[in-house]
Symmetry: C2
Subunit: 133 residues, 2 copies
DNA sequence: TATAGGGCTTCCAGTCACTGGAAGCTCAAG
DNA sequence: CTTGAGCTTCCAGTGACTGGAAGCCCTATA
């Protein structure tokens, strides 16, 4: 398989696949003409990476997950540990975004959004906390 | 004021303040010795930037908000538009993270996390969807 | 057989918002 | 006069790609 077909079947763009090779996540062989020659196992790995990335795992996490996947002697506890850490990072991020959302939505509601310059959003950003709440 | 004092009072590290000058967000004067000389207005601007960044606004948004803040002829509608767009981006991000969270937490729960290699997390990532929902 | 196109290759640069580090100047205290 | 803190600039690295340029390879059609 050439890179185009693999890209299509894995859903990962060619540029990204070349990047994954650069950083050692996949190691396709080469044809006589210099083209990358992917086997089914490469495709499988790339699809694995695509799903892991879609769950928000970092590249380093993906590398470790892939290693565990290929390690028949793994303990599922190792996989679970990675996933739990990531899950708690996601929870942190959600909480942080919800804090922002909370503040910002109050400000947006309080702003009339008309032609006049008065604006509680700017007032808040400027440090004048007398407004809102 | 030198950069250290401004950093302390605004809560923004010196490195970041220099970076903000590089990209034109603040324009402190210079003392005879080459040190940056910040006025109160510069400090005020930096604190504004700190709060806007804490709400997750991009640097470009911050630049626009700062311009509007200094523009007496602004319409609050302009500010509100920026804030609403950002708010909806935040909402999108939260939704995306919650999707990830949902999937991931089910997988984590299903994984026994023991010494054995069987792992529904890896099974899911490898594309075997027979497991879990 | 010439050529046109699409796909493939590499390499370099840019993204976003900083952050770390090195080399070197300035200033105040002891 | 030395020490050390604080300031300066410049360069490089982060994460995970993404865009673009220059050029080779392959196939189909005129």
């Amino acid at each position: 398989m050439n890179i185009g077909e693999v890209a299509e079947r894995s859903g990962i763009p060619p540029k990204t696949i070349r990047y994954y090779e650069d950083i050692g996540l996949v190691r396709p062989q080469r044809s006589g003409n210099g083209y990358r020659a992917f086997r089914e196992t490469d495709l499988h790995k790339l699809a694995f990476l695509g799903r892991a990335r879609a769950l928000g795992f970092s590249i380093e996490d993906c590398r470790n997950l892939l290693n565990l996947y290929e390690d028949e002697t793994r303990a599922s506890a190792q996989v679970k540990a990675i996933a739990e850490e990531h899950l708690s990072a996601i929870d942190d991020k959600i909480a942080q975004l919800q804090d922002m959302r909370e503040t910002l939505s109050h400000l947006v509601e309080a702003c009339r959004g008309d032609h006049r310059p008065d604006c509680p959003i700017l007032k808040d950003l400027s440090g004048d906390l007398k407004n809102i709440r």
